[in-house]
């Protein structure tokens, strides 16, 4: 036993060695242990505490925050079904039920022999090839009944995942329409050489002139951000690429990292030159774990070509390298300050802003955080020149935008358009018919109804991070909103009360309406809650959590009202049913042992 324990700790030592026993790498250390062992046991927590010189509580706090880390055994095979509305529309719930039934398992529980657990997780970014799942963190796409049965069989036989058919893990790019970014044949170092010729200040000016705005959704002018970061005083500056693509219905970053990884890194390196940074981080969402090795190969190739490392392209003093950090299942880490907390190995809780990351980011140093697509666009702007870049798109939204199309259409996938394309054009291109609504930019975005399909994607009208979920007239928009509300309640980081409690109350009220107990009073309560969330939440998650309900209430109010009782008020649960347990225990069945649910 002692020898066994020593072997177990030796495994940990290897991981700790690689990470220099740096508590700042706690999340990465925990993630690697989780991958090795399947969960993080108490003895490991104690050992880590002693080795990293931090309290156990901090380790458990971090491990407890991220949904892909487990402090209890979660089975040799951990199956998570992606639960975006698009997965639901493709029948993920039936597949989950079938799998649970075949393995004699309840969702969320571990089987008694410790073999397997099955549960739901937030959107895994495979909406164009769903329903999708993760098994031990590996993405599996295009699930069918047959595929689920095969997987069940493999799990029952304890087949190692390395021996599973590679077809399960095949992820399609599904590029349906390409443009200047996806068509780009940028040779590694091409934009960088231009950058080195013109110098850091000129890069910032060029990016400013190009009119490039952040592609993560908020649309902050990238040139201004880089300029502020360049001018900020700090000893070490950082470039962070936000590849925590968690917004349900968005998967464009996945495709960019698969097809145009060089362009992403080129953009990051240009940014490093522009702001004078030495360190870069790519924060990759845990769901895209399978991209880690290919991306590391690209980084190594760039190091070998002197596009990363010391004296890049022979320019003395231009030292910059990029490290990949993996997330572990927390949507909130897409918020830049939460992402930085997560990079520092903490719980992903958004910071107070100001100060903004451009002056006080990673390790309180000036940090430029930009989206994957933003870095690609920046490389493009330098490659083709600001004027040519500006000529694409519209006046206030220059360049092109990758749209992730999913839902009710025959051709889901990635579409690259110049900004200014209308919702209707996208719908026509993807072949959607009888469309009732489009959710633009994910649950936190905007629900667009038929009479608004002339609206244009761009910062002037419909800003978008890229998600474009199509719902045809067979879909119930109340159920769509309810799915999104459940998502936000699950992903609230729990730091501020309005969001932690508000998103859960919103979920309960939506469930109450869904169960047929809703009244006019509940609709008023929903509107009131929306107001509280919007005005008092700490960060954007809480402020936008009510959008799906507000928008669907505006456009599809009958979908709600059809479910309401005419009563002014009704309890959200079965009162008489709530006495059943006590009736059983006491053996009573007299009149006093019953309650009418609806007040007489």
């Amino acid at each position: 036993m002692v020898a066994d324990a020593n072997v177990r700790m030796a495994e940990l030592d290897q991981i700790l060695e690689r990470r220099d026993r740096d508590p700042g790498d706690l999340l990465q250390i925990l993630r690697e242990i989780q991958e090795l062992r399947g969960y993080i046991d108490p003895a490991t927590v104690t050992y880590l505490a002693s080795q990293l010189g931090i309290p156990r509580a901090r380790i458990e706090g971090v491990a407890g925050f991220y949904s892909f880390l487990h402090l209890q055994p979660h089975g040799e095979y951990r199956v998570l079904f992606s639960d975006n509305i698009t997965d639901r529309m493709l029948g993920n719930q039936q597949l989950l039920e079938v799998m649970c039934h075949q393995l004699w398992l309840q969702p969320g529980k571990v089987s008694e022999d410790g073999l397997v657990s099955i549960d739901m997780t937030s959107c895994t970014g495979m909406c164009d090839q769903g329903p999708a799942m993760l098994v031990n963190g590996r993405a599996i796409t295009r699930l069918t009944l047959q595929r689920v049965q095969e997987i069940t069989h493999l799990i029952r036989n304890r087949t190692p995942m390395a021996d599973w058919s590679a077809d399960f893990f095949r992820v399609e790019d599904n590029v349906r329409r390409s443009g200047p970014i996806l068509d780009n044949k940028l040779a590694p170092g091409e934009a960088l050489r231009i950058g080195l010729n013109i110098g850091g200040t000129a890069i910032v000016e060029e990016v400013k002139k190009s009119g490039l705005r952040g592609r993560g959704g908020a649309g902050f002018p990238t040139g201004l951000k880089w300029e502020a970061c360049r001018n900020a005083s700090g000893t070490i500056k950082h470039v962070v690429c936000n590849a925590d693509e968690g917004e349900p219905g968005t998967f464009k970053d996945r495709v960019l990292l698969t097809r145009q990884a060089d362009m992403v890194f080129e953009g990051m390196t240009l940014c490093a030159q522009a702001i004078g940074a030495q360190h870069g981080y790519l924060y990759l969402r845990g769901e895209y774990r399978y991209l880690l090795e290919p991306l590391q190969e690209v980084l190594q190739r760039r190091r070998d070509s002197n596009l990363l490392g010391k004296s890049i392209l022979g320019q003395a003093g231009f030292d910059f390298d990029i490290e990949i950090h993996l997330g572990a299942g927390a949507y909130i880490c897409g918020e830049e300050s939460a992402l930085i907390e997560s990079l520092e190995g903490e719980r992903g809780i958004p910071r107070n802003r100001p100060p903004f990351p451009v002056t006080h980011g990673y390790m309180q140093q000036p940090t430029a955080v930009d989206n994957v697509e933003t870095f690609c666009s920046a490389a493009l702007a330098i490659q083709m020149g600001a004027d040519a870049f500006r000529a694409i798109g519209t006046e206030k939204s220059s360049g092109s935008k990758l749209i992730s199309v999913s839902g009710d259409c025959p051709r889901p996938g990635i579409y690259e358009y110049p900004f200014g394309v209308s919702v209707r054009e996208v719908l026509q291109d993807c072949g959607a018919v009888n469309t009732r609504a489009v959710q633009v930019s994910g649950p936190s975005g905007i629900c667009v109804a038929e009479h608004e399909f002339h609206r244009k994607l761009g910062f002037e009208d419909l800003p978008t991070a890229g998600a474009f979920m199509v719902f045809d007239d067979s879909r119930d928009m109340f159920e769509v909103a309810r799915n999104f509300v459940q998502f936000f309640a699950h992903e609230s980081c729990g730091f501020c009360t309005p969001c932690r409690v508000g998103t859960s109350m919103l979920k309960q009220t939506m469930n109450k309406i869904a169960d047929g107990h809703g009244t006019q009073h509940d609709l008023r309560e929903v509107e009131h809650l929306d107001h509280v969330l919007q005005t008092t939440s700490h960060c954007g998650l809480g402020r936008t959590a009510c959008n799906p309900v507000l928008h669907t209430l505006r456009h599809f109010r009958p979908a709600y009202e059809n479910r309401l009782k005419s009563l002014d008020f009704e309890p959200g649960f079965d009162l008489d049913g709530a006495l059943e347990r006590a009736r059983q225990m006491t053996g009573r069945d007299d009149a006093g042992a019953h309650l009418n649910t609806e007040e007489a």
Partner: protein
Amino acid sequence: MTEKKKLRIATTSLAGCFGCHMSILDIDERLFPLLDLVEFDRSPLTDIKHCGPCDIGIVEGGICNAENVHVLREFRKNCKILISIGACAVTGGLPAQRNHLDLSSCLTEVYLTEPGLAHGHIPNDPELPLPLDKVHPNHEVVKIDYFIPGCPPSGDAIWKFLTDLIAGKTPELGHGLINYD
């Protein structure tokens, strides 16, 4: 000159500890000016057993058994304005701690496993109200118009709230009257 009609107030404590009622008494000598404006219907202060038509109903405590439901419904039916007062009424509070446990294991533990209570059987007299499987805040069972948070809310908060309400204003508890720890 006709005397202005006094408002009628009813109060009750459901699954609470009477702490909020003690806090109502903490408005102290202001009870006298209050009694110039209001009269009490059903309340532990009057010992009236059933509530008649009232203007304001104040409910302490949440809903843990069938009798609580009947009383709360009686209040809702008779009171124009119904107020949940205190943490238990607003959220379920301390009694809702048992929501983590299964009701049958609670009853088994108290009446069957532990010695000395009820001679080894779970009381089943029809006089006794049956417990619900979970404790609920009042607004999950009837519509509640106002909430006064606190455990308990201070006498000052209650005084401010009632005087606002009686004056026909929307009650507002400003700084110092609601405390967050």
